[in-house]
Amino acid sequence: MILDTKKTGVLPVSRITYQDANLEIADQFKKELLALIDEGNPKVILNFETVTYIDSSFLGAMVAALKHAMSINGDIYLVGLRKDIHNMMQLIRMDKVFKIYTHAEDVA
């Protein structure tokens, strides 16, 4: 499993369990996230605290999942991003697409 999901608060928090968020796991990640959304969780918090780098394939999978979530009035919130990954999100303006917070508790 790529996502380790816990439901202690209002929204499920899914921690990405791999350090390398890359093309090798992008398809499986998307499959797991879409399944979670379709199980009645249109709003999901994705926790990146374990991730040390992210590539374009993984970003593509995130965007595909976000589009699916939004189509059912859901959303995907990102937390625990390292500074360099946050910088990349800003560089390609994905910080305008995803809602980014420092901690899961900050997501209202």
């Binding site: 090798e24 374009s56 360099d84 990349m88 305008k96 697409v97």
Partner: protein, 177 residues
Amino acid sequence: MQFIFNHSAAHIRPLLLGIEQHIKKEVTACTDDIDQLLNRCKFIITELCTNAIKHSGETKSVLHVYKHNSELIIKRSDTGKPFSAIFNNNRISFPLTTTMNMLTLMEDDINRLAMQPLDNYSAMFYTEQKESSEDFTGQKINEHFGLIIICLSASRFVYTYNPDDGSNTYTVSIRLT
């Protein structure tokens, strides 16, 4: 300095670590912000390598990383499939057979990726960013970011096909400040 990349996702992180050490030694004195430079290099190398795995059809690439005048140069070369892209529902591939103007390869609400052929054997990539609107929903966002990430991290990004040996070289330059 030369680095060999075996086309495996598992090889990207060790490769990044090796190149980062080299860049620190080579250019720390030439830049005001080594962390920002290293970040940009990390994004560029990750995407050059990811593209190689996905599209080259080869098992190995050679990367060269070096300082040239006031720029850091990152080159990745392979002898796999030449660069190709879909434009107006047609696949264009190198070497080009006709003279072409700038081509928009991808456009969404945020980014436009374009390619300017320099001749039949080479092209430069560009990215233009748009202002997103207040009611932006994310539904019209493209899911392909590789070349855009490289363009936005680089000062110049050029592809060259060598017809003599069938090699492809992606050259990325970053101005050192």
